[in-house]
Amino acid sequence: MLAGGLIAGFAAGLLGALLHFAFVQELILLGEEYETGALVHFAGVGEGTAEAGHDHAEGEGAQDHTDEGGDGSALMRNGLTVLFTGLIYAGYGLILVAGFALAEHFGRQIRAQDGILWGIGAFVAFQLAPAMGLAPELPGTIAADLGARQVWWWGTVLATGTGLALLAYGRNLLVWVVAGALLAAPHVIGAPELGEFFGSAPPEVAAAFSARVLGVGLAVWAVMGWLAGRIWARDTA
């Protein structure tokens, strides 16, 4: 179980890194140029918002990005991104196969095609549903208190994952009702918000960033689910 999850996770992580550099990294760098003020969008308004971004002493979003590879250490920065993308998907992979094992514990068989569905479902739980409340943030985005957002994030992942599993494997109306309630709850409660907008980058860049992050996530999760499902089916055959 452990090995299958790790192999599928790392392989998916490498694909994730590849797609990251093909689609996402350029927007992160662009966002940072607006964040630092190297680029200013919409001169009149931009000045005010850029300053709001950098004055804000409380901390959320005012991180200093100078040591993240601006000065010639792009290789280091990108290497770390590959490493951590591999790592995070290895973690996802372990959780995915733990889910497979749980399903089999209750007598459900997992094949490669089930793996794809599990991967897509897990993408919804880990990325899409949290993104409904907390859209993927371009660097420079200023958002509500980090701790509160992380709590909402974990709660949403847990509720959505459980809700989808109950929806898929439940056998009676009561279970499906509970599933629906779990899926809806995080969004009824609502993600922590600031109520004001401080974005320094153009909305087009932020929108493209969010869409690409979700697209890449879906692709990588689907592949990971398929791969993990194949390995799982082979090992338990």
């Binding site: 992160i28 990108n78 196969v97 094992a101 990325q127 943030e137």
Partner: protein, 73 residues
């Protein structure tokens, strides 16, 4: 006579079925504790790579955190 032979241990193929059943049981029903353990390792990796706020970790994982939609900072 045939009946007697069939009931003798190892002569009717039943023992093979039993072995197969036992093996299947051992393979498929992973214990709940080990499932929980693997899920916990995964969640710990996610927490360290995605959510822990030490400055070094944050900077190293920065681009991945943004690109996976984690609340980053």
């Amino acid at each position: 006579m045939r009946e007697g032979n069939a009931n003798a241990v190892g002569c009717d193929g039943k023992e093979r079925k039993m072995n197969a059943l036992n093996q299947t049981a051992a393979k498929t029903s992973t214990g709940l504790m080990s499932i929980l353990f693997v899920a916990l390792i995964g969640a710990t990796v996610m927490f360290v790579a995605g959510h822990a706020q030490s400055a070094t970790l944050h900077d190293a994982a920065h681009d991945m955190r943004h690109a996976t939609g984690f609340p980053c900072h």
